[in-house]
């Protein structure tokens, strides 16, 4: 099973270059090849998910070339990482499968590299290893955003590039400082030495890491590039960017934060940042005419919510964050794919005219995506929302919960404006890419079925006995009890 962990990362890495070369002649070959690779990747990650969930202590450690952790680099997968892995590969395969045939081999190669980087990031247990994969991720996203080479995507890519490079430099400085202090690069060892750091050192490193990961994760002051990049990218890429790339960056930052910076003050700062991100992006998102930009703002908003949920030290906050992540990935992926393809077909991204050619499946997809994004009761989003509020109130942050209310309502309004316009349109509904229809139906099916699975598995609401948590199993083993039927 350890071999699968490595395979999940290495396979798309190699396939990326192979599919580029294969596609030089005609891009059908590269598309088929990429689809096969991503499908195997999805199957592998599902196998890993099954294995980790079934295993006793819910974790696998894959060691490279025989060197044991302190020196060698290792891949570490606990239950939360495995969930991210599964859904990352699902979204990667879905967005590729729904991509139009006209995309060139460059696109397929980059998508494969992006998946490789994502898998690597989720699994790596070594801090410099994280930096390397993070760089691959940034570089590939710059390239994908600039795919169309038109004025709009170039401008977005330039801004993304400059901010991204500054962030990676900050990150490297942070890592250098950590290495100077602890002398090791393995996450677990650094975590053990973290408590002895001085206040100043902790603040500096926290700041550097916050900027490093924050730009990619879309936290408030640093997410300016996000609202230009997502609309400029082709719709499968923006689905990937919104669905998983920013979430992985957030997950990484919170993983490191929960290991190194356990003082309550840091989680308070993050809570505040999350609230501000959510508030600003909803307020500005309310006025967007451009449909994809509107969805980008909603993604930044959801990131704010996830940041608040994950930064709460309690187990229920963690679970709320997870539910919000899964819900956002499915709903936003579905929305971006449907809305993106509709606006490409009708050639205009304005909210009144984008849905002229909406087919029946587009309408169903947008409705399902919109409703589950807003947390309409039967969906997971609803469970996430309820748990988030319960977690906030239980952790004593009643004021934060009250501040959330007006902005959630704002989001409901502008998302329903989008859904309303799609349903109201009387488009001719010709279907351009069959793959996309399949993906839309599958995602809608998952959105409807998943709440039943999750609710049966772990959240009988009247048996929700929420107790505190201890640091040891905070990140490593916790999610497994949580999803394996232990009542949280």
């Amino acid at each position: 099973m350890e071999k699968f962990l490595v395979l999940v990362f290495v396979l798309p890495l190699i396939a990326g270059f192979v599919s580029y070369i294969a596609g030089l002649k005609g891009n059908h070959l590269s598309k088929i090849f990429t689809a096969i690779v991503l499908l195997t990747n999805l199957v592998l990650s599902y196998k890993i998910f099954k294995y980790v969930m079934a295993s006793a202590d819910n974790r696998i450690i894959a060691v490279f070339s025989g060197w044991m952790p302190p020196l060698g680099i290792n891949f570490y997968a606990d239950s939360i990482a495995v969930i991210f892995l599964l859904f990352a590969n699902l979204l990667a395969f879905a967005s590729l499968f729904s991509a139009k045939l006209s995309y060139s081999n460059r696109f397929h190669g980059l998508i494969l590299l992006l998946t490789a980087a994502l898998n690597g990031l989720i699994l790596s247990g070594d801090i410099f290893n994280i930096f390397v994969f993070f760089e691959i991720l940034c570089l590939v996203s710059f390239a994908l955003v600039a795919y169309y080479r038109k004025a709009e995507s170039i401008e977005a890519s330039v801004k993304y590039f400059v901010l991204g490079s500054i962030a990676s430099a900050m990150l490297l400085i942070g890592i250098a400082l950590i290495y100077a202090k602890t002398g090791t690069l393995n996450l677990a060892q650094i975590a053990d030495m973290a408590p002895q750091w001085s206040g100043l050192f902790k603040a500096v490193v926290f700041g550097l890491l916050l900027v490093g990961f924050g730009v990619e994760a879309g936290i408030f002051p640093m997410n300016a590039w996000l609202f230009d990049a997502h609309p400029a990218a082709p719709y499968p890429v923006s689905a990937l960017l919104s669905g998983i790339v920013i979430e992985v960056a957030l997950y990484l930052f919170l993983r490191i934060k929960s290991l190194f910076f356990v003082d309550p003050l840091f989680s308070l700062v993050l809570l505040l940042l999350g609230l501000v991100t959510f508030a600003v992006s909803e307020l500005v998102g309310f006025y967007q005419r451009d449909v994809k930009r509107l969805l980008a703002y909603s993604s930044a908003g959801q990131i704010g919510l996830m940041l608040m949920a994950f930064s709460l030290p309690t187990k229920i906050g963690m679970f709320a964050g997870l539910l919000l992540f899964i819900n956002h990935l499915l709903a936003k992926g579905l929305l971006f794919i449907s809305v993106g393809s509709m606006s490409d077909r009708s050639g205009d991204r304005d909210i009144d005219r984008f849905s002229e050619s909406a087919s029946f499946v587009d309408k169903v997809a947008v409705l399902a995506g919109g409703l589950s994004l807003l947390g309409v009761p039967p969906s997971i989003g609803f469970m996430g929302k309820v748990l988030l509020f319960i977690a906030l109130v239980k952790a004593g942050f009643l004021a934060f919960a009250l501040c959330l209310i007006p902005f959630v309502v704002l989001e409901a309004l502008y998302v329903m404006r989008l859904v309303g316009r799609t349903l109201a349109s009387s488009g001719d509904g010709r279907i351009e890419c069959p793959g996309q229809v399949v993906v839309q139906w599958v995602f809608t099916f998952i959105i409807i079925v998943l709440p039943i699975i999750v609710s049966r598995m772990s959240i009988q609401t009247d048996k929700l006995n929420l107790n505190g948590f201890n640091k040891q199993d905070y990140l490593y083993g916790m999610a497994s009890q949580l999803l394996k039927g232990d009542r949280l």
Binding site: G207, V269, Y287, V409
Partner: protein, 528 residues
């Protein structure tokens, strides 16, 4: 099955479930057989789903499930109304309130229990936050801005369900919470919302009197009745509670029947405006008869059931000696005469307008629900003991308790004497010299020559102009349009301010990055 024994377990849930199921069945029968073709299947499926949600909502005692079902009902109403532009005010108003309910739920969960009864034990503010959606859903004053849009804009097939059941969900909510937490309700909360409900009732009556559209008039009438029931339920006085529940039943029957007739006419003629309808009695005599019976019941005139429930509610208010509040509801009650007569006169009895095409009486199956509701309402008027016992059981009171059972038996006598007198009048009318029926063109024209286009010679537009002119300032003040405009500009200004953050210049974005690091260094000071 599981749901049925869940409903039976709780008397209050049983009362509301029986009513909701009864309404749904009758409404669906009407919609199917009334010849309205397009969009029926989706509407029926969604309203079936909504009914299931409501049945579960009535039965549950767990606050998290209660909140989930309540929000599902809100969203289903939004979808069923299928007019996103008009129902957006409803959506954001109820979502705003529901999030306050969510906070109340979260605080109760933090307090340690999931039972509705415990909501009030946390603290009075928690109870009020939990009850906020009930107030919003009933359209009581600060939250009556969404009512105009949703009722007039919603899909005609759903408007009956909306006003008979969904508009009154708040009443069930208040009953569920207040009956489970006696004595913990803050006094000032009851006082403010009784008077607010009173003002809402008068405001809604003026709106109904002044409206030029049948659906709008009926919707505002149901808003004023709901406000009345809401206040009498809030009062927590025995006879007011019984009156409230019986009036809930009465109002549901009345609105179901009246909306069916109006929706049928809309399906046939495509319009529900008073000035374009008229003289339907010649073609639809039976539906007029039932419509008349229901109208009389709505106005609260004795032979029909309306008077029983209104009388109990007034009795409750007088017992609690809240004269000022009951005065407001009396005015709303008298106002109901005006719009009931307007409905009868402009739709069924006026002069036939050219725009109305061939309209035939509803087929037998479609008129069945209308007839049933009229007859049940008549039964309440004549022999109301079983209905009152049904309501009392729902509230967990045995029937003999209300002090005023002398009064209500007396209303039965009134109906009996009235029947005898009607008989005497008819017999006398038959004995007197014969009379002959004439077409409407033979009318008295005060010696003026009859105009050629006789059908325009009818007074059914701007019917109550003087009263509408008088109440205009009052109505405009409380319809809160000025508040909506101010709020829209305020949000626009804030939005403009925040849009400036992402002004597109790379330098600014770079500056944001650096500011974060400075912020964190500042954090170090706080850390020490």
């Amino acid at each position: 099955m599981m749901l049925l024994d869940m409903i039976k377990a709780d008397n209050l849930a049983f009362f509301f479930s029986v009513l909701t199921i009864g309404f749904f069945v009758a409404n669906t029968i009407f919609l199917i057989f009334s010849g309205i073709k397009k969009g029926i299947v989706l509407n029926t499926i969604l309203s079936l789903f909504l009914t299931m949600v409501l049945l579960m909502l009535y039965a549950t005692h767990n606050i998290v499930i209660f909140f989930a079902l309540w929000e599902m009902a809100t969203w289903l109403t939004y979808l069923l109304a299928n007019n996103p532009k008009k129902s957006s005010k409803y959506l954001w108003a109820s979502l705003l309130a529901e999030f306050f309910m969510l906070i109340a739920v979260a605080r109760t969960v933090a307090y340690g229990s999931y039972d509705i009864a415990m909501v009030a034990h946390v603290d009075p503010l928690n109870l009020i936050m939990f009850c906020l959606p009930f107030i919003v859903k009933s359209g009581i004053l600060p939250f009556n801005f969404w009512v105009t849009d949703l009722y007039t804009g919603s899909d005609k097939r759903f408007v009956a369900y909306l006003s008979a059941i969904i508009g009154k969900l708040g009443i069930f909510g208040i009953l569920r919470v207040f009956l489970l937490s006696p004595g913990l309700i803050p006094e000032w909360f009851i006082y403010t919302f009784i008077y607010l409900a009173g003002i809402t009732a008068v405001w809604a009556t003026f709106k109904a009197v002044g409206s030029e559209d049948a659906i709008e008039s009926l919707s505002f009438s149901s808003l004023s009745q709901v406000a009345f029931i809401f206040a009498s339920v809030l009062l927590m006085n025995k006879s007011a509670l019984i009156g409230g529940l019986v009036h809930y039943l009465n109002h549901m029957l009345i609105k179901m029947g009246m909306f069916m007739a109006v929706v049928y006419i809309w399906a046939k003629t495509g319009t529900t405006e008073f000035k374009r309808l008229g003289d339907f009695v010649s073609k639809m005599p039976f539906s007029f008869l039932f419509f008349l019976m229901l109208g009389i019941s709505l106005a609260g005139v004795p032979p029909m059931g309306g008077v029983i429930s209104k009388w109990f509610m007034y009795e409750g208010f007088i017992e609690e000696s809240k004269l000022l509040a009951v005065l407001l509801f009396f005015v709303a009650g008298v106002g109901s005469f005006l719009y009931v007569y307007r409905l009868l006169h402009s739709i069924f009895l006026g002069r036939k307008k050219p725009s109305i095409g061939l309209v035939s009486e509803m087929n037998i199956l479609a008129i069945l629900p209308l007839a049933a509701s009229a007859l049940i309402s008549f039964l309440i008027g004549v022999y109301s003991r079983p209905f009152i016992r049904f309501a009392a059981k729902a509230l967990g009171m045995d029937f003999s308790e209300p002090r005023t059972d002398i009064g209500f038996a007396y209303i039965g006598i009134v109906s009996a004497v009235f029947g005898a007198l009607i008989l005497f009048a008819v017999v006398l009318w038959l004995l007197l010299p014969k009379h002959r029926y004439v077409p409407d063109t033979e009318g008295y024209t005060a010696a003026a020559y009859l105009p050629k286009d006789i059908q325009h010679w009818d007074y059914s537009y701007n019917f109550y102009a003087p009263v509408v002119r008088l109440g205009d300032k009052f109505v405009r003040l409380f319809s809160l349009d000025w508040l909506a405009r101010f709020w829209k500009e305020y949000i626009a200004a804030i939005g403009e301010l925040f849009r400036g953050i992402y002004s597109g210049s790379l330098k600014l974005y770079g500056f944001y990055l650096m500011s974060v690091i400075v912020l964190v260094l500042f954090l170090k000071e706080m850390l020490k």
